[in-house]
C-alpha cells in the first residue's frame, strides 16, 4: 500500500501552493515526514509544501514536510530505491481509498510479557490475521542479506585459499634465496631442526607483524567502507564491522598459514644435501 | 709514473722470438692506465699507471701476489671494465670509452674469456654452451652447431657434446669454457686463473691446450698464480701494488 502511494507521489513545491485549490476537508495542511533519499532527490526541506495523492495526474492533499527522517538499519532495504513517506493514518486511508483498514499492527509488549503465549492468544481470537514475532519476520525478509552474507563468506574462503598459495609461493622463493647460507650452516654442524626452527620463528615474527599491519589496514578500510556506503544508501546500517572475534580469527589464521609456509619452505631445503645446495 | 714493460726474456730468447714489441702495432696497447675503486669509505688504487703492449700471436702471463691488480688489468683488456684514466686499445681500436652496447659487441666478436670457475650455464649442454656466443652473433643454427662440435673435438671433448656441466669433470668443464671462448674466432683469448680450480694433472692438460692454441696463432693473455702456467707462456709481466715492475 505504501508502495502504491509512493508510486503516485507528486511534488509540486511551495510555489504552487497558492494555485492548488484547498479540498473541502482540508483547511489546515497536515504534516508528513519524508526520508533523506526523497528529500535529496526532490530537493525538499522541512517546511516545504507538497501535494500528495494516490494517482498520478490528480490533485491531492496539500501537506507540509514536517520532518526528514533517517531510515533504520534494515539491510533488506538497502538496495531498494524506495522513497518513504510517513503520514497520519487516517489521511493515508482516505487518500488511498483504503477505508478502515491497515496492513499490519505493530505491538510493543511489557518486558515481563510472555510473548509466545500472547501470540497464541491473539491467533486464537484473530479473525483474518495472524500474529508473528518480529524477529521471525525479520529472518524471513532478510533473505537478500543472507545471500549477500553467503557470498561474502565464499569470497572470504577463496581469498584465504588464494592467500595461502601466494604466501607459500613467496616463502619458498625467499627461503630458497638463502640456500647457500643454509648450506653453510649445515656444513658447520648446525642441525636441521635448528635451521627449521629459526626459519619458522622468522616466519612467525613476519606473520605477527604482517597481521598487526593487516588489522590496522582492515580497520581503516572498514571505516572507509561504512562511510562510503552509509552515504551512498543513506542508511545507518553498518556494512563492515571489525570485531574482536574477527581480529583474533584473522591473526590466528595468518599466524598458522605463515608458520606452515615457513615449515614447508624450510623442510624442502634442509632435506637437500648441503653440497647440492651449493650447486655442486 | 708509468713503468716500462720488462719482459721475461728467458723463454722468449730460447725460442728465438722477438723481444722487442715494436715491429708491428700491438694487438693490445695500454697507456698509463689507472683504475680506482671505492671500498666503503676508502679509495683503492687497483692500477696505478700501467703501460703495456701485447703483440699479435703472443702468449703473455700476468703474475703477481693476491690483490696486486692482475684481474683488474685483465678486465680492462677484456673490456668488461673501464679505466679511471689512461687509454686501452685492442687491435688498433680505442675501447676505454666505449658505450655498453659497443663494448658488448666488441667482446662478442673480438674477445674470448676463460674464467677460473668455468661459469658454464648449468642448464645447457656442452654443445649449447659453446654455441651460445655464436647464437648471440646471429650465426645460423646449423653453422653454429657444426662449429661448436668442431671446437669441442679440438679441445678433446667430441664425445661429450650432450653432457651438462654437472656431468663433466673440472678439467672437462674448463675445456668446454675454452671452446666457448673460441666460438666467434676472437682476436684475443683472456684467461683469469684458468687452472685455479683444477688439480695438477688436469691443470697440465689445460696448460698444454693453451700452448697448442698459441702455436695455432691465438694471442693469449693469462692471469695466474700457477708457476707452471706462467712458465709455459712466452712472456711474463710482473705486477705489484697496481704497477708493472721489472722482472
Amino acid at each position: 500500500m505504501f508502495a502504491f502511494l509512493l508510486a503516485s507521489l507528486l511534488v509540486q513545491g511551495s510555489s504552487s501552493v497558492g494555485g492548488a485549490p484547498a479540498t473541502a476537508v482540508e483547511r489546515q495542511p497536515r504534516t508528513i515526514a519524508i526520508d533523506e533519499t526523497l528529500a535529496a532527490r526532490a530537493h525538499l526541506k522541512v517546511g516545504d509544501r507538497v501535494s500528495i495523492s494516490a494517482l498520478p495526474g490528480t490533485i491531492g492533499d496539500t501537506v507540509i514536510v514536517g520532518a526528514i527522517v533517517r531510515r533504520g538499519a534494515d539491510p533488506s532495504e538497502v538496495a531498494r530505491g524506495d522513497l518513504r513517506v510517513r503520514m497520519h493514518l487516517d489521511q493515508i486511508q482516505r487518500i488511498a481509498g483504503y477505508g478502515d483498514r491497515v496492513d499490519r499492527f505493530a505491538i510493543a509488549t511489557t518486558p515481563a510479557a510472555d510473548i509466545p503465549r500472547l501470540i497464541d492468544r491473539i491467533n486464537r481470537v484473530a479473525f483474518g490475521f495472524n500474529a508473528y514475532r518480529s524477529r521471525d519476520i525479520a529472518v524471513e525478509t532478510s533473505r537478500t542479506f543472507q545471500v549477500v552474507s553467503r557470498f561474502h563468506r565464499a569470497i572470504g574462503i577463496i581469498t584465504i585459499v588464494a592467500s595461502s598459495v601466494f604466501l607459500l609461493c613467496i616463502m619458498v622463493l625467499k627461503v630458497e634465496e638463502r640456500r647457500r647460507d643454509i648450506a653453510a650452516l649445515r656444513l658447520m654442524g648446525i642441525s636441521r631442526a635448528t635451521v627449521v626452527r629459526s626459519i619458522v620463528m622468522e616466519a612467525a615474527v613476519v606473520a605477527v607483524l604482517g597481521s598487526a599491519l593487516g588489522v590496522a589496514l582492515g580497520w581503516a578500510a572498514s571505516l572507509f567502507v561504512n562511510w562510503h556506503y552509509q552515504a551512498l544508501y543513506r542508511t545507518p546500517l553498518e556494512f563492515s564491522m571489525v570485531t574482536p572475534a574477527t581480529v583474533v580469527f584473522a591473526v590466528s589464521l595468518s599466524l598458522v598459514l605463515g608458520i606452515a609456509a615457513g615449515v614447508v619452505a624450510s623442510l624442502r631445503l634442509v632435506r637437500t644435501p648441503p653440497l647440492v645446495l651449493f650447486g655442486r | 709514473m708509468a713503468c716500462g714493460v720488462t719482459a721475461d726474456r728467458g723463454i722468449a730468447a730460447a725460442r728465438g722470438d722477438r723481444v722487442s714489441a715494436r715491429v708491428e702495432s700491438p694487438i693490445v696497447s695500454l697507456r698509463d692506465v689507472r683504475r680506482d675503486y671505492a671500498l666503503g669509505a676508502e679509495r683503492v688504487h687497483a692500477l696505478q699507471g700501467v703501460t703495456l703492449d701485447v703483440e699479435r700471436g703472443d702468449y703473455v702471463a700476468i703474475v703477481g701476489p693476491s690483490g696486486c691488480g692482475k684481474s683488474t688489468l685483465l678486465n680492462l683488456i677484456g673490456v668488461i671494465d673501464q679505466p679511471t684514466s689512461g687509454t686501452v686499445a685492442i687491435a688498433g681500436r680505442r675501447v676505454d670509452a666505449m658505450s655498453d652496447r659497443e663494448a658488448t659487441q666488441f667482446r662478442l666478436r673480438n674477445i674470448g674469456f676463460v674464467f677460473q670457475r668455468f661459469y658454464l650455464l648449468p642448464i645447457l649442454s656442452a654443445l649449447e654452451n659453446v654455441a651460445l656466443p655464436m647464437a648471440e652473433a646471429k650465426v645460423s643454427k646449423a653453422v653454429r652447431i657444426e662449429r661448436a662440435a668442431e671446437l669441442l673435438r679440438y679441445v678433446g671433448l667430441g664425445n661429450r657434446e650432450r653432457h651438462r656441466p654437472s656431468e663433466l669433470s673440472g678439467g672437462e668443464q674448463q675445456r668446454v669454457a675454452i671452446a666457448r671462448a673460441l666460438a666467434n674466432g676472437p682476436t684475443l683469448l683472456l684467461a683469469d686463473e684458468p687452472t685455479g680450480e683444477l688439480d695438477a694433472r688436469t691443470g697440465a692438460e689445460i696448460i698444454s691446450l693453451f700452448q697448442r692454441l698459441n702455436a695455432d696463432g691465438t694471442t693469449i693473455v693469462v692471469v695466474t698464480h700457477d708457476e707452471d702456467l706462467a712458465s709455459a707462456s712466452r712472456r711474463k709481466v710482473h705486477i705489484r701494488d697496481g704497477r708493472v715492475v721489472d722482472a
Binding site: 533473505r143 | 645447457l124 652473433a137
Partner: protein, 394 residues
C-alpha cells in the same frame, strides 16, 4: 636460444615454477571472476530484456516493472496512443496479480500474468497449447509440481482472498493447456499466465488496467527517441528503455561492481608481486651467470629478454590454468547469488564474455612482463667485473 634458455631455467627449478604458476593461476582466476561479476549482471540483464525483442517498457509512474502493486488505467486508450507512432511495431499489455489455486484442502499461491498470447513476451511455451481460449491457463513446472497437476487438468483458481471472512473471490475453473518457462520468473516462483481479459474479469475491480506495457519498435527505429515521445504523450506512466532499466539496476547493484573492481585490482597486484618476487630471486641467484653472459658478449637487452620470457611463461601458464579455475569458481559463486529472492532465473551475476576475459588475462600477462623487466634490467646492468668478483668471493 633465449626461449630455450628461459625454458631450461624454469625446468631447472620445477617446484618453484609450479608454485609460481599456481599462484598466478589463483590471481588470474580471481581477476577473471571479478571481470565476469563486473559486467555479468548488466549484460545478462540486457540479454534478458532483449530476449523477446521488446525495447521499451511502460510502468506506473515512478516505479520499475512489477516493483509495486500499482496498475496503469486505460489500456485501450494507451494502446491507441502508442499505435499512432509509426515506429512502434507491437504493444503487449500485461496485468500481474496473485492467484490462489485450491487443490483439495490446500491453497497454493502463485503469480499470474494476464497477457495477449499473440504479442506476449513473458514466457516460452515448452509443451501443450498457448492460452487461446478464455478458460485456458499455462503454468511453470514449479507450480505444476506444487499442485501435482498436468497439462489437461482443470484447476479452481481465485484472484482474491479475504482473510477476515476467509473467502475467495473471482473464482473460476481454468484448464491447464500448456507448460511454460517464465523468462522473468525466479527459480522458486510459482508462475502462470492466462488471457488478460480472464484475469481482469476474475479480479473484479481492475478493469482495463495493466501492470506493464511492453513495446517493440520497428527495426531501425531509435528506441530512445520513441521512449522520449512516449514520455511526452503519456505523462502518467514511466517509459523505461533498456538502457534506463540497466542503469537503474546497475545503481541498485553497484556494490557488486565496486567489489569486483577492488578485488580485481588486488588480484592483478598480487599476480604482479608474485612474478616480480620470482624474477628477483631468480636473477639474484644467477648474478654470476648473468655477468658471464654479459662478459662473453650477450647484450643487456637479450639478457633481459631471456629473463622476462620466464616471467611471461609463468604468467601465461598461470593465466591458462586460471581460466579453468575461474570458470569453476564463478559457477559456484553464481549459484550462491542466484538465490536472491525474486531474481529472474535467467540472470547470471557471473557471465563469461570472451572479449572482457581475454582483456583481463592479457592484462595479467602484460603485468607479468612488466614485473620481470625491472629486476631483469637491474641485474643485467650490474658492473660485470664487480659481479664476477662478488661471485668469486661467494
Amino acid at each position: 636460444m633465449r626461449a630455450a634458455l628461459a625454458q631450461a631455467s624454469l625446468i631447472r627449478h620445477r617446484a618453484r615454477t609450479v608454485l609460481a604458476v599456481l599462484g598466478v593461476a589463483v590471481a588470474a582466476a580471481m581477476l577473471l571472476d571479478m571481470v565476469m561479476l563486473a559486467t555479468g549482471m548488466r549484460e545478462s540483464f540486457r540479454e534478458l530484456l532483449l530476449s523477446r525483442g521488446f525495447e521499451i517498457r511502460l510502468a506506473p509512474k515512478g516505479t520499475l516493472p512489477f516493483d509495486t502493486d500499482a496498475t496503469i488505467p486505460g489500456v485501450g486508450a494507451i494502446t491507441a496512443t502508442l499505435r499512432a507512432n509509426p515506429d512502434i511495431r507491437e504493444i503487449s499489455p500485461v496485468l500481474g496479480a496473485s492467484i490462489h489455486i485450491l487443490a483439495g484442502n490446500r491453497d497454493v499461491s502463485g503469480s499470474a500474468l494476464g497477457i495477449d498470447p499473440s504479442v506476449q513476451g513473458d514466457y516460452e511455451l515448452l509443451s501443450g497449447r498457448d492460452v487461446t481460449t478464455p478458460d485456458a491457463i499455462v503454468a511453470n513446472d514449479h507450480l505444476l509440481s506444487q499442485l501435482g497437476a498436468r497439462v489437461g487438468d482443470t484447476l479452481s483458481v481465485a484472484a482474491g482472498y479475504d482473510p477476515q471472512t476467509r473467502t475467495y473471490s473471482g473464482q473460476r475453473k481454468l484448464v491447464v493447456t500448456g507448460r511454460a518457462r517464465f523468462i522473468y520468473g525466479a527459480a522458486d516462483q510459482s508462475s502462470s499466465a492466462m488471457r488478460r481479459e480472464t484475469l481482469e474479469a476474475m479480479g473484479g475491480q481492475a478493469r482495463d488496467r495493466a501492470s506493464l506495457f511492453m513495446v517493440r519498435v520497428r527495426k531501425g527505429a531509435n528506441a530512445e527517441q520513441v521512449r522520449d515521445w512516449i514520455d511526452k504523450q503519456l505523462p502518467n506512466v514511466t517509459a523505461i528503455s533498456i538502457a534506463t532499466a540497466i542503469a537503474q539496476v546497475d545503481e541498485r547493484l553497484s556494490y557488486f561492481r565496486q567489489l569486483a573492481l577492488i578485488l580485481g585490482a588486488v588480484s592483478l597486484f598480487v599476480g604482479f608481486l608474485l612474478v616480480t618476487t620470482l624474477v628477483t630471486v631468480s636473477v639474484n641467484e644467477r648474478a654470476g651467470e648473468i655477468a658471464v653472459m654479459r662478459a662473453i658478449g650477450v647484450s643487456r637487452s637479450h639478457v633481459v629478454e631471456q629473463i622476462v620470457l620466464e616471467g611471461v611463461a609463468i604468467s601465461f601458464g598461470g593465466a591458462v590454468l586460471g581460466l579453468a579455475l575461474g570458470l569453476v569458481t564463478a559457477r559456484y559463486l553464481n549459484t550462491i547469488l542466484s538465490a536472491f529472492p525474486g531474481l529472474p532465473m535467467a540472470i547470471d551475476f557471473f557471465l563469461f564474455q570472451p572479449k572482457a576475459a581475454w582483456s583481463a588475462l592479457g592484462l595479467l600477462i602484460a603485468s607479468g612482463i612488466g614485473a620481470g623487466i625491472y629486476p631483469a634490467w637491474r641485474a643485467a646492468s650490474l658492473p660485470i667485473a664487480e659481479s664476477l668478483r662478488r661471485e668469486a668471493i661467494a
